[in-house]
Symmetry: C2
Subunit: 106 residues, 2 copies
Amino acid sequence: MNFIAMNRFKVSVEGADDFEDMWRSRESRLKEVPGFKEFRLLKGAEDEGIRTYSSHVIWDSKADFENWTQSEHFRDAHKNVGKSKGRSAIMGPPKFEGFETILQED
Amino acid sequence: MNFIAMNRFKVSVEGADDFEDMWRSRESRLKEVPGFKEFRLLKGAEDEGIRTYSSHVIWDSKADFENWTQSEHFRDAHKNVGKSKGRSAIMGPPKFEGFETILQED
């Protein structure tokens, strides 16, 4: 079944708008990537001035995700992140977790 | 946009099959609930004999989720959990997090 790649970000509340703008304005070409199914940027709770965000990308399989991380497309998608204003709102490195869907109802 | 309710479970590797069976064999009536969109049970990484699982339920809105938690349907769905073998494989209480979808591509 599907593989879900999640990255969790801790963002200062002052920089949350810049962080969201960075995602909204990015030029996403995920739809061109084999095995891509769905992307979501999720806004979580705020605690003591820090808000949790999580990006979820659903892939047909873990292999599709891994192929993407080794592709030119992936490098292109990440090359400008370090320069953006939204990037500086992120506190510490994102935390990655991969999950396999074992049961689904919709 | 959508609301995603997640619960994170830490499960002993010895009990992981029982935990999965508990979910697979449960009688889910989520499809009957207003605002329900999608359910997934996700299997994450294992670390020192403990595996992370996460349940994701996507709702049309946070209000739909909250209405469900106060419904008879919710009480029915949870009343037998404490007795099951899969339940005893869970280490500590599940950790709940709610997220709002702010950006989506599919």
